[in-house]
Subunit: 306 residues, 2 copies
């Protein structure tokens, strides 16, 4: 079962860490872009090729250290069809390397439409007598604004295909409180969403945690602590570490006493580490090694904190 | 400016109607699927070709009668990269036919990620010395759960590229009230979102309406009436007519006294009309003519009601 596979890999790597593969062209060393543009021109295809080569270098350097990656589909979708092809290549390659892949897609719609998203990303579609798994991520992120009937199709597909989801509860961005923190019967909206996540998750349990997880930003550690208690069986995906401002000492409250229950995402802090002063010695050509060093430093930071 | 172009086309066609191009394989006549599968096999490419051919028939039959179409990207994304290519072909073809294209993508994320979605769908991306408009819809739908800093990048790109957005306020599905109707300081969440839509929209006005619109389901006519008053300068995209249960007499309250202010979507009721008893005389081969007849009937229904 998928959540158990993720937990097993977290234990084996001793790393409750997911690396966000959210490439921007500005992160990518010139020599990679030049080579891609030479072959495909300064086109969407060229950009997508540069993104893929850049990702591949990072994945090769870090795949043994971590349990999971989280490609943010927007960073690929911005380059249209060629970009989405690079997303698909990245997902496939990470799975081949044994990584659990969390597609950060934040989809969510009315029932029949959510079914289409679920089938396309974590399930299968039928075409005549054949069936295909188009994007085939292991987990995806989902937006709860439409309520239960928009979520149910994702859960149905998880059940059928042995996959998982993480539902947005409290997001890491500065204005997340605008709606999410508003009080309803004395409790913030995000707690009401958390309660539903508990309900939905109870229908799809793994060995000790549910296949239905939650997203709670590292940038709100006190809310994380409360939400941890409210959703004891829910795995929490924690974005916002590093570049967005969260650090190790803020994170203890996201974990349960079993040392499990949360997986912390870092994107820019890992994949563009070579651009930081601390890793500048690696230079452009050593960008992947810089990412490896940044993963090791993050592991150490979390170990100290937990 | 984009909202003015949409209003102009609504006036010219005398049709506050948008047709949802949300194809399911089960809607598509066998002769179209057989022909596509013969060429591409029972593959994702075959499914995408069938979707495209089906769409093209409908667009050719109805483009003169309506101002706009709303392709639901999930129905394409479910077929992976080939499906998204059919989405792109559909968007391009509709624009060539003079239709305003509302990409129903319901994206929304933290700021930097929303920027990527906005660039990819209604804006441009830079690759070296070139710039591209990857999907190039005219409007897109956006999810508000992350608050202002997740919405701002969409508005910035609208301003720069002369495009528009529709923000989810009260969705058409049965469980939309689970979070959206909860009371915050005595008013439902959707009214608080509506208030923000007003704020955001005031920064980006067209001649008489804002480029920032709202989505409010036809299935909640009383809330539509209230929201119409709360957002006087906001165009309302109204899904849920027809197959989801909304009908013409429910819709008057979504419009302003100028006869403008709302555009009503029908998807299955138009594109799969030939499967209804009322249009069965058209048969499979006449599916596009059945769609044309269904558009004319919807125009008449709305005319009676308004």
């Amino acid at each position: 079962m998928m959540i158990d596979k993720l937990i097993d890999k977290i234990k084996k790597t001793q790393a409750p860490i997911v690396v966000g593969l959210d490439p921007m062209l500005s992160y990518i060393p010139d020599y990679i872009k030049d080579s891609a543009y030479k072959e495909y021109g300064e086109t969407l295809e060229g950009a997508a090729e540069a993104v893929w080569e850049y990702n591949k270098g990072i994945i090769d350097a870090i795949y043994e250290l971590i349990p999971a990656v989280k490609p943010q589909i927007a960073m690929y979708e911005q380059f249209g069809i060629p970009g989405l092809f690079a997303f698909k290549r990245t997902v496939d390659y990470c799975k081949k390397k044994g990584l659990v892949v969390i597609g950060d897609i934040k989809r969510g719609d009315i029932g029949s439409t959510s079914t289409a998203y679920a089938n396309g990303h974590i399930g299968r579609v039928e075409v005549g007598r054949n069936s295909y798994a188009p994007f085939d991520e292991d987990f995806i992120t989902v937006n709860p604004y439409l309520g239960s009937d928009g979520i149910a199709p994702f859960i149905d597909v998880c059940k059928k295909e042995n996959k998982g989801i993480f539902i947005l509860v409290k997001t890491s961005n500065p204005s997340s409180g605008e709606f999410q923190d508003r009080l309803i019967e004395g409790r913030p909206l995000y707690e009401h969403v958390a309660e539903k996540v508990n309900d939905w998750g109870s229908r799809l349990m793994g060995d000790s945690y549910s296949h239905v997880g939650a997203v709670v930003g590292a940038t709100y550690p006190e809310m994380g602590r409360e939400l941890r208690k409210l959703m004891p069986k829910t795995y929490i995906l924690v974005p916002g570490y590093g570049a967005q401002g969260g650090c190790g000492k803020d994170l203890a409250g996201f974990f349960n006493e079993d040392g499990l229950g949360a997986i912390v995402n870092s994107s820019r802090g890992i994949i563009a580490a070579y651009k930081q002063e601390a890793y500048s010695k690696y230079g452009d050509a050593g960008y992947a090694d810089a990412s490896r060093a940044a993963v090791l430093a993050m592991k150490e930071d979390l170990k100290q904190a937990l």
